[in-house]
């Protein structure tokens, strides 16, 4: 996986742009929030603010699954493509990636380091050269789901099990989460357990509730209609 591409636009960002309409709001003198000014503004998508924290945001309680019970699988419809337990997963080719991540709630975190198995490696381990369908739905413990075109998984995504050189904590999605950093971070499903390859796009948890079906931070695709 390559480091996040630099912004495609050549515009020098002096302040975060936002396509969200700005009603006039009273400015609270002296309020700056927690964010820090980034050195490289062109790494920050429009409307985002850099944080050194790592906020925890969840749609449900943190699941607890033992590594003995954990499995990750891929399927097309009812047809299984592959299933790995923790030991088997660790035996697959591991990749390390340093990426920037962007949450739709407006925080961005730069230079995050992850390790895991790329979707390409998983497909290869399942005997496939490429994804069998144009779309995929990631399913997580606790019922969360999110959809991603498979062209956005190839060469651009992994199932991550380590963050900042340590096992991924449960709060941040451990034992394993999907990592698709070029899209808003709600697509990087925590507690991922399977990828279902689908022929037609199907909205996941947030996509069915008004969030953008694709979610490209560089085009500020936060909500459907953006």
């Amino acid at each position: 996986m390559r480091r996040t591409e630099r912004a495609r636009t050549a515009v020098r960002l002096t302040a975060p742009r936002s396509t969200v309409s700005n009603h006039s709001r009273p400015i609270s003198r002296g309020f700056q929030g927690r964010r820090t000014d980034p050195e490289d503004r062109h790494r920050v998508p429009p409307g985002q603010y850099v944080t050194r924290d790592f906020p925890v945001l969840s749609a449900g309680p943190t699941p607890h699954v033992s590594l003995v019970e954990w499995t990750f699988s891929m399927r097309v419809g009812d047809r299984p493509l592959g299933k790995w337990n923790w030991a088997e997963f660790q035996d697959l080719t591991q990749t390390r990636a340093a990426v920037d991540i962007h949450c739709v709630t407006k925080w961005s975190k730069l230079d995050t380091v992850w390790e895991g198995v790329t979707i390409d490696a998983l497909l290869k381990a399942a005997g496939l050269d490429a994804a069998p369908t144009p779309y995929a739905l990631a399913h997580s413990d606790g019922g969360y789901s999110t959809n991603v075109p498979t062209k956005d998984l190839a060469g651009k995504a992994m199932i991550a099990t380590r963050f900042a050189d340590a096992p991924l904590s449960a709060a941040h999605g451990g034992p394993a989460r999907l990592l698709v950093p070029h899209l808003y971070f709600w697509k990087s499903a925590k507690w991922v357990r399977s990828i279902e390859f689908i022929t037609a796009d199907r909205p996941g948890f947030w996509e069915s509730l008004g969030y953008h079906i694709y979610g490209d931070p560089w085009h500020e695709q936060r909500y459907s209609g953006d």
């Binding site: 969200v20 924290d53 925890v56 749609a59 941040h172 509730l209 008004g210 909500y223 953006d226």
Partner: protein
């Protein structure tokens, strides 16, 4: 209240009281006292008694008995979205 975002709030959840503002921007009747019958397990409880998650993205309310999603709401730049499928019924007395 502020919740420090150092990852320490793993098991912490707020209750439906904190979604009162978002819900009151949609419902004309006071929403936190409204009672929800969970569509998953039929447990009945006030909106204020539901377990609240994802307040930064909207609100996800979960049944205090079975943790199934009872109500979801998102506030977006194109309006508000409300999913009540997890509630068999919502009763505003």
């Amino acid at each position: 209240m502020d919740i420090p975002d150092d990852g320490s709030c793993m098991q912490a959840w707020l209750d439906g009281n904190a979604a009162g503002g978002i819900l009151a921007s949609i419902f004309l009747l006071e929403p936190t006292r409204a009672r929800i019958v969970c569509a998953h397990c039929r447990h009945a409880a006030a909106v204020a008694e539901q377990r609240l998650f994802a307040l930064e993205m909207g609100a996800v309310l979960r049944c205090p008995a079975c943790a199934g999603v009872t109500l979801r709401v998102a506030v977006t730049s194109h309006g508000r979205f409300l999913d009540l499928r997890g509630a068999e019924v919502m009763h505003f007395a």
